[in-house]
């Protein structure tokens, strides 16, 4: 950890929102290189708004994994992952790649897929995958971007806790710095260096995880008895959050 | 294999455009059109034999299409009606009427009426009682189905047909005029007399249900018209040879396509009356 070094990004009293509507007012925070940040807060608390702002400001350094996955169901897994580096090839090369996959890209993506448990699915259209598989394709696309920094909007929401750990490990392996929005509080404490907690349009919590316990995190959620994290995951999975 | 296919395709695309100087003709579509191409192919073969050039027949669907084809040099010779011939010769300076059918020097239209109207035939003219009935012409630019009937209607009643009749329609075709009057859809109609006679002879019309009211005075109608530039393109004297070939046509099978007994010479001046009537009615300008 390099807390003392100059931050990668500093927000100082910034208002964030869409158009005129301010979602997060007067936001102040630092993001340091090498830090793994868990972003917590209720649905609608502004997690996505904050991530979008980070993504805008850090543009070229960011591997991005959106909440809605943003996959193209009609295209094969291979092409969806390939999209992570679309800007590094000419339009012609990209067009040709749709007809005939580029050999090097294919090999790299095949290796990536194997690590994510997607082996053998490269040619399959994303439309035919399960929710968890799609989630992993979205992560694979972000990993394929090969950036310093990973920004994920609930990238492990629709996979089981065991797999969530594995995916987070993979993300860590390839990115020095990450900001990941999630709902699983235990995971936030066990796996991340720092927690940003949003509530009522403010950054309510900004502390290293070693200073926090579950009760601190529960305060981010208005209901006194926060639902158990695993049921939370299940409910979201059942709701077809893909 | 693929290359072979491509070559075959290419050759197929390029060949048809090569044959440039084919002599083409057409005929306005107002007679029986069944096996039209087949029948006119025989006329084409006859002309090819007489003229020693390739001759093709181009089928058309309307009077105006025949005139357009003539104007645009897609055909050099055409069997026109009286009015369409005048239209064509006005649009193509130098073109001339060559020959007409022996019937065409004194052609007629029939006014026919459904028997349910109770109208009676007469020698003098149309009965005054036709006013207020419904009426149909044939095609809009047909000489015998539109132009001359309208001329005589206006002369006798001094009124536009739309004012004289309760409804005025354009059936588009002589055969259809007969069918529509026979079924009583229209009370009265105007038809080409040769089409009427043929329909009666072949029993295609029930003369108890529909009958002839009045026959118009004679006027010139159908004719062969040729473009003025054919001598330059097909050789000196070509126009004269075409005329002779038409006049010499004696095979009843060929003549039945028109249907005429024989062709006789004609020239542009024969059609001055038609031109005047056309201008009067605003169909020519």
């Amino acid at each position: 950890m390099a807390v003392e070094s100059a931050p990668l990004l500093r927000l100082d009293g910034v208002d964030l929102g869409h158009g005129r509507q301010i979602v997060l007012a007067n936001l102040t925070l630092d993001l340091h290189a090498g830090e793994r940040v868990a972003l917590l807060g209720q649905s609608g608390a502004g997690k996505s708004t904050l991530l979008a702002a980070l993504r805008r400001r850090l543009a070229g350094d960011v591997a991005w994994c959106p909440q809605s996955h943003g996959l193209v169901p009609q295209l094969a897994v291979y092409h969806n992952i390939y999209m992570g580096r679309l800007e590094r090839h000419s339009a012609l090369a990209n067009l040709w790649n749709l007809i005939r996959p580029e050999r090097r890209a294919w090999a790299e993506i095949a290796a990536l897929c194997e690590e994510l448990g997607l082996d053998g699915l490269l040619r399959r259209p994303v439309a035919q995958l399960s929710g968890g598989q799609r989630q992993r394709v979205a992560i694979a696309r972000a990993l394929y971007q090969q950036r310093r920094l990973f920004l994920g909007d609930e990238p492990v929401a629709s996979v089981d806790p065991h797999q969530a750990l594995r995916l987070l490990a993979l993300i860590d392996e390839r990115h020095a710095t990450s900001v990941v929005a999630l709902h699983q509080r235990e995971l936030a404490l066990s796996h991340f260096d720092r927690v940003w907690g949003l509530r009522n349009g403010r950054l309510e919590l900004d502390a290293p995880t070693r200073e926090l316990d579950l009760a601190d995190l529960d305060r981010l959620y208005p209901a006194a008895d926060a639902p158990h994290p695993t049921t939370d995951v299940q409910r979201r999975a059942e709701a077809g959050d893909a | 294999m693929r290359r072979l296919f491509a070559i075959a395709l290419l050759s197929c695309l390029t060949v048809p455009t090569a044959s440039a100087e084919t002599f083409r003709f057409t005929a306005i579509p107002d007679e029986d059109q069944s096996r039209l191409v087949e029948r006119f192919q025989k006329v084409a073969d006859y002309l090819a034999g007489e003229l020693d050039v390739d001759v093709e027949y181009l089928p058309v669907k309307s009077y105006s299409a025949a005139v357009s084809a003539f104007r645009n040099d897609q055909v050099q010779l055409a069997w026109f009606g009286g009015l369409s011939g005048v239209q064509a010769r006005r649009l193509v300076p130098g073109s001339q009427a060559l020959a007409q059918g022996s019937e065409d020097a004194a052609f007629h239209s029939y006014f026919i009426a459904n028997s349910a109207t109770g109208l009676e035939a007469s020698e003098e003219g149309l009965p005054a009682a036709i006013g207020g009935h419904s009426f149909t012409f044939g095609a809009k630019t047909s000489t015998s189905g539109r132009l001359m009937p309208e001329f005589y209607l206006r002369r006798q009643f001094d009124e536009a047909p739309e004012e004289l009749f309760s409804r005025v329609g354009f059936s588009g075709d002589h055969s259809r005029t007969i069918a529509l009057v026979e079924s009583g859809t229209y009370d009265i109609g105007a038809v080409n007399f040769t089409v009427w006679q043929a329909a009666v002879e072949e029993g295609r019309v029930d003369t108890d249900k529909v009958k002839v009211l009045w026959e118009t005075p004679a006027y010139p109608d159908y004719q062969w018209t040729i473009r003025g530039d054919v001598d330059a393109r097909f050789g000196d004297g070509f126009t004269a040879r075409v005329r002779q070939a038409l006049l010499d046509m004696s095979d009843p099978e060929l003549l039945a396509s028109f249907p005429r007994d024989a062709f006789i010479p004609a020239d542009n001046d024969d059609y001055t009356p038609i031109e005047q009537v056309g201008e009067e009615l605003g169909l020519l300008r």
Partner: protein, 499 residues
Amino acid sequence: MRERVPGALRGDSPGLSLARRSLMLVALCLLALPFADLAIIAHDPWAELARMAGGLAWPSWSALVSPLHAIALTVGVALWGTALGVLLGFPLALIFARSRLVRAGCAFVRAIHELFWALLFLQVFGFSAVTALAALAVPYAGIFAKVYAEILEQTPGTAAASLPPGVDRLSRFIYTELPLVWSRLTAYTRYRFECSLRASVLLGFVGLPTLGFHLESAFREGRYHEAGALLWLFYLLIGSIGLWSHRRLVPWLLLASLFVLGPWPQVDGGLLWRFVSQDLWPAPLREGDWSGLIAWFTEIPDLLPAIANTLLLGLMGTVGALLVALLVWPLASRHFGNRPSRFAGKAVLVGLRSTPELMLAFIFLLLLGPSMLPAWLALALHNGALLAFLAARHADNLQPGMPGLTASGRYAYELLPRLYPGLLALLFYRAEVIIRETALLGMLGVATLGFHIDSSFEYLMFDQAFFLLLVTAMINIAVDALARRYRPRDVVMDDPCSR
């Protein structure tokens, strides 16, 4: 206290607003009816109708001269007309939203019926495949541009938004936009192909030797056995589209049909130039003779009654189509009847929407006599059957929530409420098409704009025809704008074939 039943049509719910709009349309039609000439004047149509029925019942296959060539040409013209329309229309769709000029141009080419385009191109290209292809491709380019643009506009943006920054426009389009809407684009293209098949037959009516060429001659001259055979061929062709227009087969069909489309005419540049620079414009205008131009205007047949008739027939046709569609869609839906009844219902709908309106109109002309009535019935039945077909297809994708309802209950409570918004939206789209088709029925003696356009072409007064075409196009564009203003919004047009 008893709760009062609210005023039947008060309130803001979407259902009520739909009902108000429909009733308004019907009321407007009823108000206009007294101005329409709807007399029934027929004495004895049965002999002719019996002959027609006999022809359809005992088609004479041997009378057909070259049916295979006619079919091949019909299909070839439809395929290539559609393909060229796509080639022209797709790039236009990409700039459709941005360019007012493109939108106006597309609205104009769409507003003129294929048959009138054919009459225009005929003057330059003669009776050749070029005329037929241009007559289809030009208006279809406008239609494709509009519909493709609408479909593309509805592309979900999430995939494009998740791309890394710096991706070029083309790559973004082919990876994250095109695949998402591909199925809707192809579904619409297929539907348009079916339309073009019908249009291709219709082009025969002006002289291109497709099936319609022989059909029209045979029908016009009362050779009903031959006409019957041709009509059956046509129904079969339309009914079997699904069998022979497989995705893999289409390229081969395209290639093979090239052989029947020739010979290609040599396009005479002088002819083209003369037509565009002289024939289409009034002589006084070309010569700058203003008083002559006024005289030219006075020669134009009564414009206002023609416009009134066109609009009247269009309105009546639209309302008629709605009523027909409401009545007959259950015939072809899986929610009603049994297997044979559905098959028969589908066949009736295919028959009604494939039979050229002109023929339907002629049959009614015989039955009912010359008035606006035959044209109205023909428009209502043809378009109503088309709407019913789409409504039935929509209904088949619905799952009734309450099993065991009676048929009328199912119709009124389960299905119609869910179908109706889409049906009405379709109808408002269709209004423009119906107006365009009124032009065709002018030949029945109903003095619509189409009647006068046809006359002008017959009298070879192309300047007049062109002027009337411009007027027609303006009216079409106005009607389309009006229909768009009042068509139900927020209806998910999941069936792109609606337009």
